[in-house]
């Protein structure tokens, strides 16, 4: 029985297989409508989420299965002091597979060591969010037709953005990826990714504070939110915040086939005026999230 806790739990061959399955689901949804008949997914969300939880639930319903679970810790026995270990042991008796979000880092790992059914990490604090990374990889593959030979720019909060860290780790296993890291000095990529992943694997990367200068060379722009609370003083935040807002004006210098991604939710880092630009892919990303989760549920339940 396998679980998905970290994106690196999957080989690139397994990721390719999931992407291929997701593409087949998109092309032939009817073939999959009854695949999970009689199966139950438990969504154990110890902290709130909109997209991830609904995406898992929609995925299971579209596979013909059922969903049980809770959407906040206060409506579970955790509020009575029950441990994660006991909760998953109990839920393993009711469900065939569990998707778990938890504010504490490593909680899904603990769950996977105790549960008798597969566990999917649906986000554990600032640590891992592997199904978002799978979503991002499916989106890149569908929009660009490949996962190799790409120039990808990550922009905004690269220090605390777990989706950025996971996607860099996942892409580091593909060929000829050039990484452009666009952030203020305060929010640079942490050393454990820069040194342990990029430098250790001798990957091609550059760091810059200027989005305008980096934009013309990119095939993909992965935007993230620059949060005010990450800055030591408000003056720095005010000085920097506008330079990381993507507008139609800034996009004039970008490639015509640029793919603009964002893990969402956004606040103001992508102007709504960009939404109608054909290069905006962030809502396709949301849809892709459901399909890749369908593929993942099938894989972990060992259903063809």
């Amino acid at each position: 029985m396998k679980s998905l806790i970290d994106i690196l739990d999957l080989t690139t061959a397994e990721i390719d297989e999931l992407i291929s399955k997701a593409n087949d689901i998109i092309d032939h949804p009817d073939r999959y409508a009854e695949k999970c008949r009689g199966k139950k997914l438990a969504t154990l969300f110890f902290e709130p989420s909109t997209r991830t939880r609904l995406s898992f639930e929609a995925a299971m319903y579209e596979l013909g299965g059922h969903v049980i679970g809770f959407s906040e810790a206060s409506s579970s026995s955790t509020s009575k002091g029950e441990s994660v270990q006991d909760t998953v042991r109990a839920v393993s008796c009711y469900a065939d597979i569990i998707a778990m979000r938890h504010p504490k880092e490593g909680a899904p790992k603990v769950a996977s060591m105790k549960a008798s059914v597969p566990i999917i990490n649906a986000g554990d604090g600032g640590h891992n969010h592997p199904t978002q990374t799978l979503t991002d990889l499916l989106t890149i593959q569908r929009e660009k037709g490949r996962l190799n030979d790409l120039r990808i720019g990550f922009c905004g909060d690269l220090q605390f953005g777990r989706t950025v860290h996971s996607l860099i780790s996942a892409l580091s296993r593909y060929h000829n990826i050039h990484f452009t890291l666009i952030s203020p000095a305060e929010l640079k990529l942490p050393d454990y990714i820069k040194v342990d992943v990029l430098q250790k694997k001798k990957l091609d990367f550059e760091e810059t504070a200027k989005l305008d200068q980096a934009l013309p060379n990119l095939d993909i722009l992965y935007m993230t939110r620059v949060q005010k609370e990450r800055f030591f003083n408000e003056a720095d935040y005010i000085r920097l915040k506008d330079s990381y807002i993507l507008t139609p004006e800034k996009l004039k210098n970008a490639k015509s086939d640029l793919c603009i991604m964002h893990p969402l939710p956004r606040v103001n880092e992508i102007s709504c005026a960009v939404d109608d630009d054909p290069r905006a892919c962030y809502f396709h990303q949301v849809l892709n999230g459901k399909f890749i989760r369908m593929a993942l549920i099938l894989k972990l339940l060992e259903i063809d």
Binding site: S83, V84, Q85, H102, P103, K104, E105, G106, A107, K109, V110, D124, G125, G126, H127, Y192
Partner: protein, 141 residues
């Protein structure tokens, strides 16, 4: 200073100076009823200064702890007054409840019965990471 020769026991040699008391505590030597001698700052041609621990009984040592704290030490097992065995600990691949995760966001902070397990992720740099949150263990002093 005279320390009696050991007839049956263990001599832990080549301990980097100042680490002996840490080993003494972590190996639980204060719980032993036999004689234990801790020699600090002994002159050493190899290390300059070193510590030595002599235990007047053959006990089961926690080799994971020895390998983690001081992988370059030498453990001499003495039987009937003769050197019976000379061993060097290996860097352990996993440590359970030897070091503790200090990441305040780690699940071990709320689930307090969980064992604190660290895995060796980089043998060259001797880096251990928590198996739950992947936080790097602080280098021991």
């Amino acid at each position: 200073m005279i320390i009696d020769a050991i007839r049956n026991g263990i001599v832990i040699d080549h301990i980097p100076a100042s680490l002996s008391m840490k080993l003494y505590r972590i190996l639980g030597l204060d719980d032993l009823s036999c004689s234990v001698a801790v020699l600090k700052n002994v002159a050493s041609s190899k290390l300059g200064r070193k510590d030595i621990i002599k235990i007047d009984e053959i006990i089961d040592l926690n080799w994971d702890v020895l390998g983690y704290i001081a992988p370059d030490i030498t453990v001499n097992i003495i039987r009937d007054g003769e050197l019976a065995e000379k061993r060097h600990p290996q860097l352990p691949t996993q440590l359970t409840n030897v070091i503790f995760c200090e990441n305040p966001r780690c699940i071990t902070t709320t689930e307090q019965e969980l064992p604190h397990i660290f895995k060796l992720t980089d043998p060259e740099q001797r880096i251990y990471r928590c198996i739950y949150c992947e936080a790097r263990a602080k280098k021991h002093e």
